[in-house]
């Protein structure tokens, strides 16, 4: 962050050196505070993190801290609990996220089929992702409660023998996947709804004139045009899938046993349950590497597949292409 790549052009008449110098000073003055703040707060804890992960740092034990090199990392490689938490993180990224894409697509298509009240429906569908994950966790805990909860009482009434969902070894992880999907499908829906909005009406008309039926139009025209939006949703949800922690903390606390312990929860448990900061530090770094690698792989796949909004920026267009003029009340 020391060299600042000035890629944009300056104000039109800024050819004189005095103007340039003044502009550079203004840039420094305007960007300085925020960048300093961000730099200090990202570098300083990061140094601690790296330091902890290469030593024998344990908070509770007053032994001298030793440099142990990559020991913490190699110990993880042979630890079955690490591999199981990696697997659970993988399930969130590779099962829950595609599930959310499919569910979000269905909801977006359903919503796109009506013109009246679309914004009203969309804002109601959006509620789960606005609600604090902690509240989501305990409202689901209440809802799924084996004794007092409505769901199991209903299932019993119609003759099923439902499991104890979050407390059951087999059902705890699927339950969490469902809750995460419930919370974040609306986000995918909103992204894909924006994608559907961007397809001009004449495209559908042209397809109809060419004699293609609804299914053919969907598969050969709508889906390919939605692809960049799906990639946007996938990347953002993939990144977020590493964050899943709050609902695990409330619904299962990683259990039963270690059945729902993903990398984030395992790291938390190591760091703040057992004060093994060195192990927790190593786990944090492993997560960061996996997340960065995974994101880059998805982005390069997206780039190779499509020349869309994804391809011209290092990140998907997302929120950041918000155009101010549409904001001030103009309808598209």
């Amino acid at each position: 962050m020391t060299t600042i790549p000035v890629q944009g052009t300056a104000l039109p008449p800024a050819t004189k050196t005095s103007d340039n110098r003044r502009e550079r000073r203004a840039t420094l003055f305007l960007l300085g505070p925020a960048l300093t703040f961000l730099a200090v707060l990202s570098v300083w804890p990061f140094v601690y993190l790296i330091y902890a992960s290469f030593t024998s740092y344990q908070l509770a034990i007053p032994i001298p801290i030793e440099w142990v090199g990559v020991d913490n990392f190699t110990r993880m490689m042979t630890n079955p609990r690490f591999w199981s938490s990696l697997g659970i993180t993988g399930i969130f990224a590779l099962v829950a996220v595609p599930l959310q894409i499919v569910a979000g697509l269905s909801m977006a298509l359903l919503l796109n089929g009506v013109t009246r009240g679309r914004e009203f429906y969309a804002s109601l569908f959006l509620i789960p992702m606005m609600v604090a994950p902690i509240v989501v966790g305990f409202s689901w805990n209440l809802f799924l409660n084996p004794i007092y909860g409505p769901l199991n009482n209903l299932l019993k009434a119609i003759g099923f023998d439902p499991p104890a969902w979050a407390q059951s070894p087999d059902w705890a992880l699927p339950t969490l996947v469902v809750v995460d999907t419930w919370q974040w499908t609306p986000f995918v829906m909103i992204v894909l709804l924006a994608g559907l909005n961007s397809i001009p009406q004449r495209v559908y008309e042209a397809a109809r004139v060419d004699g293609s039926n609804r299914w053919q139009t969907f598969v050969h025209i709508v889906l390919p045009m939605l692809f960049p939006y799906m990639m946007v949703a996938f990347v953002l949800r993939f990144i977020d899938s590493f964050r899943v922690f709050d609902i695990i903390y409330i619904l299962t606390r990683g259990g039963p046993g270690t059945a729902t312990q993903n990398l984030a929860y395992y790291t938390y448990d190591m760091g703040f349950g057992r004060f093994e900061f060195s192990i927790a530090g190593a786990l944090s770094i492993i997560q960061l590497v996996l997340l960065t690698g995974g994101t880059m792989a998805i982005l390069s796949f997206a780039k190779s597949r499509e020349k869309g909004p994804v391809s011209d920026s290092p990140l998907p267009p997302t929120v950041f292409n918000a155009s101010a003029h549409t904001f001030q009340g103009e309808n598209p």
Binding site: F245, L291, P314, F327
Partner: protein
């Protein structure tokens, strides 16, 4: 969308039939949507209903659907057992950190918008900070906070939330400022307006919607945040998510009180969801069409 318009060769009666079919399918779609929506919002609706149930009704099996003897006692009790403290602390930490994000973020966003390209490396570096899962920096923050005696302080949490939200605020504001034509500023500058007049009278009114949106987002994220609050605070600072989690896990959960605090925690967000869906749909609507 109506097919009768786009089929010029159809005779009048056929067109009427088509319109009827279209209307019927629209009705069916609305019915399906409402059903999906009701099922979808059931867990939260259940929470809402529970908040109004007196203690005796909470632990019946099978449960009563509607509260039989509706009561507001859960709200007052929930407030008293720590919900009030949680709301106060969350409101304080979230608003101060949001204001700090805007104060630090606006000048930076202005510089980024005017002198750097839209997807330059600097913007990307800043935003990538936002992508980190909170569990990654939290170990380092914990050790740092112990060193600086920031553990369990409002200042500490405010600093962390500002750090968490600042990248997003900068990027969002920069996108908004890019949409403001430079000619407005140039005109003001030619008139000899000093920089603070330029900011106060020209830029600020024009970027107000952006500031509002960025502020709302920062506020929501800080209001909902759990992991940092869990790890970096103790007994003095207790934000709402942390208060809720501890009632839930370490005491005999009184569902009515939990429901009441939960509803109070999410009520402001429900109001904002209408604004947010418009914002999200428009901000993702790029590519073909308008631009």
């Amino acid at each position: 969308m109506t097919m009768s318009v786009s089929t010029p060769y159809a005779d009048v009666s056929a067109a009427e039939n088509v319109t009827l079919a279209v209307r019927l399918s629209v009705v069916v779609k609305h019915v399906v949507l409402i059903m999906v929506l009701v099922l979808f919002l059931l867990p939260l609706a259940w929470l809402l209903l529970t908040a109004f149930k007196p203690y005796a009704e909470l632990f019946t099996s099978p449960p009563s659907v509607l509260p039989i003897n509706g009561t507001l006692v859960n709200f007052t009790e929930g407030w008293a057992i720590g919900g009030g403290k949680g709301i106060g602390d969350s409101l304080f930490v979230a608003s101060i950190s949001t204001v700090l994000c805007l104060i630090l973020g606006y000048p930076a966003a202005y510089a980024l918008a005017r002198w750097f390209s839209a997807h330059g490396q600097l913007s990307f570096t800043i935003l990538s900070l936002r992508m980190m899962p909170p569990i990654v920096p939290v170990i380092g923050f914990y050790l740092l906070f112990q060193e600086l005696s920031l553990f369990d302080t409002y200042t500490g949490l405010i600093v962390v939330y500002t750090f968490m939200n600042l990248p997003l605020v900068i990027w969002l504001l920069a996108e908004f400022i890019r949409q403001i034509p430079k000619t407005y500023e140039e005109a003001a500058r030619i008139d000899g307006a000093p920089w603070y007049r330029l900011f106060w009278d020209v830029l600020l009114p024009l970027s107000a919607p952006g500031i509002l949106t960025a502020g709302i987002l920062a506020m929501i994220f800080a209001w909902n945040e759990f992991l940092f609050a869990l790890v970096l605070t103790g007994e003095k600072v207790i934000t709402l998510p942390k208060a809720l989690a501890s009632f839930f896990l370490f005491q005999q959960p009184n569902w009515g009180q939990l429901g009441a605090i939960g509803i109070v925690a999410i009520a402001p967000l429900l109001v904002l969801s209408y604004y947010m869906q418009r914002f999200l749909i428009r901000s993702f609507s790029v590519g073909s069409g308008g631009r």
